[in-house]
């Protein structure tokens, strides 16, 4: 037992190390000294205060989405739609930011709530399509991701176009009172860090200590048995996706009200997909998610400096994290990853 649990704990580290070695070899292949390369990455992520704050600011929405994904993964659901849920949250927050004229103390909470509601609804549609329409959540999610992006483009090139005319960029900047208070010159809002802490602790407690958390766990591991043990798969599926959507939507709101100051063409730009990788590398354990997410953010931010330093493509950071996740999937504890798509789900017979 001892040995097994040690292995289980250690296996997160192994793929990271192997991925670092592979990246080092890649760097060598491009005639860049790995010491210099990794040095550039570390400097790029933590070289000075502003870099570290930038890493943290990027970490916030990714972690919110990833924490939400732990919930949906626990229920055995592949919420690929998380990307669209981030975008919808951003749109909802932007809507209030642009149109609502109330004091800051009211406006910001309203923006956050609207964002959570929008993300939850977007996820809820995918969930109902799954339980009622038999549309797998992966396909529903992908479709709704596209719809969310198309909707953004419509808004910034149509009704919410800045007065000086349409550009690539996005809407006009929000009024200051609609923006989260920032730390100095950074894009990081201390309030958003509090949100992450609340989300992590909240989801941890929900999964650990509530009846609902246990039902999700059972549903994720074996929907048929869970059904016979009294779990309503339809209800819990919808709720799990909606909670994930709410947290992702909150991430979207943070993105528009602190990272940017307006709704942009690509408000998320794949943060949802990164969050999926984060959760997989965290072995679906919420307590590990913030750390893995921080590591991802540092690697991605460090890659910017790496690209400038070495003039290599900055996709190297993406390769590094991608390889890690791949290795986890290959050599990790397959049992924890067995919630693969395609599991049969018992037909819920509606009461009449």
């Amino acid at each position: 037992m001892k040995r097994a649990s040690l292995l289980q704990r250690g296996w997160v580290i192994v793929p990271i190390l192997v991925a670092l070695v592979i990246t080092a070899l890649l760097l060598l292949a491009f005639k860049v000294s790995p010491v210099e390369g990794f040095g550039a990455m570390i400097r790029g992520a933590f070289g000075d205060m502003s870099k570290t704050l930038s890493v943290t600011a990027f970490w916030v929405p990714m972690t919110l989405a990833a924490v939400g994904l732990v919930v949906s993964f626990t229920a055995g659901l592949w919420n690929i739609g998380v990307e669209g849920q981030i975008v919808m949250g951003a749109i909802a927050a932007s809507w209030l930011a642009l149109k609502l004229d109330v004091p800051r103390g009211l406006l910001i909470p309203l923006e956050m709530l609207a964002a959570m509601a929008a993300g939850a609804i977007w996820a809820g549609i995918v969930a109902v399509l799954k339980t009622r329409g038999k549309v797998h959540e992966i396909f529903g999610g992908l479709a709704f991701n596209n719809l969310a992006i198309i909707f953004t483009n419509y808004l910034i090139s149509g009704p919410w176009q800045p007065p000086e005319g349409g550009t690539f960029r996005g809407t006009s900047p929000f009024p200051d009172k609609a923006l989260l208070p920032l730390l100095g010159d950074s894009r990081l809002s201390p309030i958003s860090v509090v949100m992450v802490i609340v989300a992590v602790v909240g989801v941890f407690l929900i999964l650990r200590g509530t009846a609902w958390g246990l039902k999700l766990k059972a549903l994720g591991k074996n929907p048929d048995s869970a059904f016979l043990l009294g779990v309503s798969s339809e209800r819990e599926t919808i709720l799990a996706l909606m909670l994930c959507g709410a947290l992702a939507g909150l991430g979207g709101a943070v993105r528009v009200t602190s990272w940017f100051d307006s709704l942009r063409q690509s408000i998320s730009g794949g943060i949802g997909y990164l969050a999926l990788l984060v959760v997989m590398l965290s072995a679906f354990r919420v307590a590990i998610v913030p750390f893995v997410s921080f590591f991802f953010s540092a690697v991605l931010n460090g890659s910017i400096t790496l690209q400038l330093r070495t003039q290599l493509h900055s996709a190297l950071g993406g390769i590094l994290t991608g390889v890690m996740v791949l290795l986890v999937l290959l050599f990790g504890d397959i049992r924890t990853l067995r919630i693969l798509p395609g599991q049969r789900r018992k037909k819920a017979v509606p009461d009449e």
């Binding site: 200590g209 016979l228 043990l229 009294g230 017979v349 009449e352």
Partner: protein, 487 residues
């Protein structure tokens, strides 16, 4: 080719599943491997077939020592195993499934394979339709197919794990005939893993008995059944006497119920089950008895007719509502449909018994679980994951999850795969429920069990229910006729 096993050890944590077992097997003979649940039979066979790696010990095939990293390697050396649930791909055609795992060539020669499949089938005496889909087959047919596949891939040693659970008597005869032919005519070594003494007596030449991971005895067949039982259990378990508890109230009443299954239609079901009554359902797999149980559980809705529970019309109730009315449903597949692999016993108890609570009082549930573990004699701790339990203990765990009080219990094969002692113990538990007034409607493939445990019995054949017979007055022969379609 002589097969020798020397000093095989396989531990799972603290459990000594195989604790130094040595056997010698000759070609052309059929061996029985007996033992109660958890004796280590399945583990030993999985070691032999490459599914598990032994902690120590060696396997010699002919004169050579062998070592397998996977079932495919074992099969390449000539050892093939048929599992209780054949490992095939349900939505594929027989022919494709047969071709599966034969990846020596990139391109599959279907015509050749078809020829080969037909030939092998004829040799062994099976009839197969190569274009049929796997999921249209009965368990018995899938077993036959798996056997053909192993033979075609050159298996010299065939291991059959509880092959007769869940197949019809006719299929059993076919299977036994072909096994005999394979051993005596073709010189294969056959190992039959079973706890059914009668089958071992009927088929095998020689029998090994395992108990608690060790070889405790062997015998040439025929021998006295009592001797085997003594070897298996150390002492002969007493049979509990059957006392009827039937009451006057109707627990379950069906009026002209019809059910549309995916491949079968059941119609004209009208009967009732009294409180405290045990009602047995006989019949081949897929004859409609499972549909009846599922309809009574609210898992599927009847297409016509009405169902009453304690006089209340529950026809359109769904499963969760039926459950709250005191109806329990125990499916046949334990880890597939009853338990959640990866969750602990405590988590199961919490899931099954919790009410509209928000936070879980884990301390209370751990205590409750410990109580049930003691009461149901489960070998495990509250934090043990259910998939780490042995088959018998999983079955006990399922019963430990039941709520009280219960009005109606719907059971699929309640003792399938259990040894005599475990099965008897399960029925003791069930009879306690019956004593408390629960009605039991159960299906079983074991005619002795049906006759011994039921108050009344009906048989299903092709979606029609036979006349209802009194268990005390009927015989296995009569049931056989009813199963065969006589009404």
């Amino acid at each position: 080719m002589q097969l020798q096993i020397k000093g095989i050890r396989k531990y799972f944590g603290d459990v000594k599943a195989n604790d130094g077992i040595s056997l010698t097997l000759q070609p052309g003979k059929i061996y029985g491997l007996l033992g109660e649940n958890g004796a280590g039979k399945s583990t030993l066979m999985k070691v032999l077939s490459g599914y598990h790696k032994p902690d120590s010990g060696e396997i010699t095939l002919g004169k050579e020592g062998v070592r397998f990293d996977s079932p495919a390697e074992a099969l390449a050396s000539g050892i093939g195993m048929i599992y209780q649930d054949p490992l095939d791909v349900p939505s594929m055609r027989i022919l494709d499934n047969y071709l599966l795992g034969r990846d020596r060539k990139v391109l599959l020669d279907r015509a050749e394979a078809l020829q080969e499949l037909r030939q092998t089938a004829r040799r062994v005496g099976f009839e197969v339709d190569p274009q049929a889909f796997i999921d249209t087959l009965t368990l018995g047919e899938r077993q036959q197919l798996e056997l053909l596949r192993l033979l075609a891939m050159g298996a010299e040693v065939l291991i059959l794990d509880e092959p007769t659970t869940g197949i019809s008597g006719e299929q059993k005869e076919e299977l036994f005939d072909s096994i005999r032919k394979l051993a005596t005519v073709e010189g294969k070594t056959v190992i039959l893993v079973s706890h059914k003494l009668a089958e071992v007596q009927e088929l095998c030449h020689h029998v090994f008995v395992l108990r608690k991971g060790k070889l405790v005895g062997e015998a040439e067949i025929p021998c006295l059944t009592e001797d085997l039982v003594r070897l298996m259990f150390e002492d002969v378990p007493p049979r509990t006497a059957r006392v009827p508890h039937v009451r006057q109230e109707k627990a379950l009443e069906l009026q002209e119920v019809g059910i549309d299954g995916e491949r079968l239609q059941v119609s004209g079901l009208s009967f009732d089950v009294q409180s405290g009554e045990v009602f047995g359902l006989a019949g081949l797999e897929g004859s409609g008895q499972r549909l009846l149980l599922q309809a009574c559980a609210g898992l599927i809705h009847p297409s016509q007719g009405r169902i009453f529970l304690n006089g209340r019309d529950v026809t359109r109730f769904h499963f969760h509502r039926m459950r709250s009315q005191g109806v329990a449903y125990l499916p046949a597949g334990r880890l597939e449909e009853g338990l959640v692999a990866g969750l602990s016993l405590t988590e199961h108890i919490a899931l099954a018994t919790m009410d509209r609570e928000f936070l879980i009082d884990w301390k209370r549930y751990v205590e409750e679980t410990q109580r049930r573990i003691d009461r149901y004699q489960i070998v495990g701790q509250p934090e043990t994951l259910v998939d780490e339990l042995s088959g018998g203990n999983q079955q006990r765990a399922l019963f430990a999850l039941l709520r009280s009080p219960l009005q109606l219990m719907l059971l699929e094969h309640p003792t399938r795969g259990l040894d005599v002692r475990s099965a008897d113990w399960i029925w003791q538990l069930l009879m306690q429920r019956v004593e408390d007034g629960a009605a039991i409607l159960f299906m079983s493939a074991d005619l002795d069990e049906l006759i011994e445990r039921s108050d009344r019995i009906a048989a299903f054949s092709g979606g029609r229910m036979s006349r209802i017979v009194q268990a005390q007055e009927t015989t296995a022969e009569e049931l056989g006729y009813l199963i065969g379609g006589e009404r």
